[in-house]
């Protein structure tokens, strides 16, 4: 069951739906591409014209703040036009089917859908049904996959730990309902992590979880031994009402990450969480805000990784490794003074003529243009 749907005839990324079926080389390419975008955010001018003239629709059938915002920022920084559609309160509640919603948006000549949906397989379905020129990025489908979250976590891990091959990673919490966990496990295994361990009570683990390529522990104290990366998952409140857990306090007692328990892991272990965090339920505030926490770094990295995935899916990403960096110089409005060897302007760009052939074109404010 390989998923070639995601790749075009040349084996390049066309849709980004799941980590499954993607090679280590491709995942590494995403990380490398993201790295070249990562510096950008700190500059005053935060734009490159890679997706100029492209229209991206954020199609959110489920509420989200962080993911939608970072996708929006990523698209804006690539100079795309972005439309946010919050379908949870729009078309489908009027009885319109998923397919009709897609057909209507297609008719508006969009180039990319970023989709979040409460049902597993929704992004696959849209990728199968949509017009061939449109790319689909999965921003989370049901309990299936959340591949950009996994890649931004891989990016964060690589930033700090450099190499995956010696890493032991623990994923703690509601694995059963977590699309994040499934994508993390696949990404870590593809990138060659030494061990992926899941730690949860049986009620929060799917059947045959070991078939995903993980070791299983039901005990946090035992499970944290020798761990380099601690990934906490959010515990939804409704898990209590559906008899999966007795109470938040008992969960915290058994599986909540405290400073004391974190000491069991390696001294240089990092703590991650896809957010939003439930302080005092799955994680103690002292840990969440502590020195080993990289939770906010994850959020920042989300933008660069999503930029990379979007640019790659639209086949406009510059080859990784070719970057002397996409440096936008703070305050500089003259692209001509930028170092050469960077990103090319897209054909048809009316400002392109004023740039050196190899120039990097930043578009301050999008319309003010380059002198």
């Amino acid at each position: 069951m390989t998923d070639n749907l995601q790749l075009n005839a040349e084996g390049k990324l066309k849709h980004f739906l799941t980590i499954e079926g993607l090679s280590k080389a491709l995942l590494t390419e995403i990380l490398d591409t993201a790295e070249s975008f990562a510096g950008m955010s700190e500059h005053q001018v935060k734009k490159v014209p890679l997706l100029r003239g492209k229209t991206i629709v954020n199609l959110f059938f489920e509420n989200s703040t962080r993911t939608r915002t970072t996708f929006e920022l990523a698209a804006t920084r690539l100079s795309a036009d972005v439309i946010n559609m919050n379908i949870a309160t729009s078309a489908t509640s009027k009885g319109e089917s998923l397919l009709d919603t897609i057909r209507n948006l297609e008719a508006m000549f969009v180039d990319m859908f970023v989709v979040r949906h409460a049902l597993s397989g929704a992004a696959h379905f849209i990728a199968q049904q949509t017009a061939p020129h449109i790319s689909v990025i999965n921003a989370g489908d049901g309990q299936h996959a959340h591949p950009t979250q996994a890649m931004l976590d891989m990016f964060t891990i690589r930033q700090i730990k450099r190499d995956f091959s010696s890493l032991r990673v623990a994923i703690i919490g509601d694995i059963l309902h977590s699309r994040v966990a499934r994508s993390e496990i696949q990404a870590l295994n593809t990138l060659g992590a030494a061990e992926v361990r899941v730690i949860a009570p049986k009620t929060l683990l799917p059947a045959h979880v070991e078939s995903l390529g993980v070791n299983v522990s039901h005990n946090l104290t035992e499970g944290l031994k020798d761990i380099d990366v601690v990934m906490m998952l959010r515990l939804q409140k409704e898990r209590m009402s559906s008899a999966l857990l007795p109470s938040e306090s008992e969960y915290f007692k058994c599986f909540g990450l405290t400073e004391e328990k974190l000491k069991i892991a390696k001294p240089d272990a990092i703590v991650m969480h896809p957010g939003p965090i439930n302080r005092g339920v799955e994680i103690d505030s002292k840990v969440a805000d502590g020195p080993q926490s990289v939770i906010l770094k994850q959020v920042s990295n989300g933008i660069a990784v999503r930029m990379a995935v979007m640019a790659m899916a639209m086949q406009t990403a510059p080859a990784p490794g070719r970057f002397s960096g996409i440096h936008t110089i703070p305050g500089d409005r003259h692209a001509g003074s930028l170092p050469a060897g960077g990103i090319h302007t897209i054909p048809g760009d009316r400002h392109a003529g004023s740039l050196p052939a190899n120039g990097i074109h930043t578009i301050p404010g999008d319309k003010s243009g380059v002198a």
Partner: protein
Amino acid sequence: MKIRIDHGRIIDPANDIDRVGSVYIKHGKIVSVTDEPDSFKPDIVINAENQIVCPGFIDLSTRLRDMGHSRKATFKSEVTAAAAAGITTLCLQPDTVPVIDTPAVVELIKELAEKAGYPQIYAVGALTQKLEGAELSSMLSLKQAGCIAVGNANQPVKNLLILRRAMEYAASHDLLLMFRSNDFWLGNNGCAHEGAVATRYGLPSIPEAAETIALAQCLELAELTGCRVHFGQLSCKRSVIKIHQAKKYGLKVSADVAIHQLHLTENDMRPFDSAYHVLPPLRTEDDKHYLRQGLAGSTINSICSDHQPHDLDAKLGAFPETEPGMSSLETLLPLMLKLVAQHAITLEQGIACLSANPARVLRLNSGALTPGFSADVCIFDPELEWQVNSENWKSQGVNTPFWGQTLKGRVTHTLQAGKIIHRL
């Protein structure tokens, strides 16, 4: 009208016949097999050379839609498909719209069946009103109107006391209960087998225990109430074991399996392809193996199509929101023959599972080429290959995972009560 079918290999498991010869039909009844009756002058002669002549198939679980679901399929479209599949008798599950819980609906079904030119459709009456599992249906009235059995289709009877009462009442009127084992709570609105594949794809899943626990409860109640029970559409190993033990213990129960469960497993599911969305879900290789063994050893005595045609929209969506079920009348014979080719069962067993055995479950005088029986006959070419495509397909529902595949074995003639209802 007199019909003679010549030169075919006649396989009639109920009468232990397997030889080349002729079948003689007069006034809609079988007159003789092999031996020519005196002064028999046929109006029609069918040459069945290199073909197999067997009793018409009896399908224990079918949906024809129509009425409130005519966008999915109609009696007209589906009986044409059934005839093309060699099926001469159908059991219609009660989850029609409206539900088969009053004699009026049974009458309506009879009328639609007559109009479609396919009278041998037997309604299964609802066990509980509106299939809600709360109040008993008027089972005696349903029986008198023509219902061949009662059942609750795929709907659960959550309260075991109500199930007990319903079974006692059914037993009082000597009604067969057709039971689909599925514990509502353990099923948990799942759409795939609880195993490695559902875990990988994050699909809400159904454990085997949802089936086996409901089955075990119903077996206990069968003993308590004396109700005759037929367990429909088994999907897993432990169900086969439980039925085997119950039969050994002496309980009067029977069971069937849907044809696709004998061929497909969770591993065959293409990612999020709704054609594979069925209930009970496709399970593991081990389960498939045991279902086949159960068939070979007669623990499971019938194969049904579990035909559920859908309109395109019903299958267009994210996997969990699509409607379950396959359109499976027309793949029934070739898939049965594939079991024979794979040495899972013998050809005689395969034919018995589609004719004599379901007839016994329903206590019908059919499913055999016995003189005096209604002339329900299927003639098929076991070697004829055909592609599943819109040219060959009759059902209005094209929701089959076998679409586009080339299958072996095709029905050339179907006779229902001596009337030729299908000719290739």
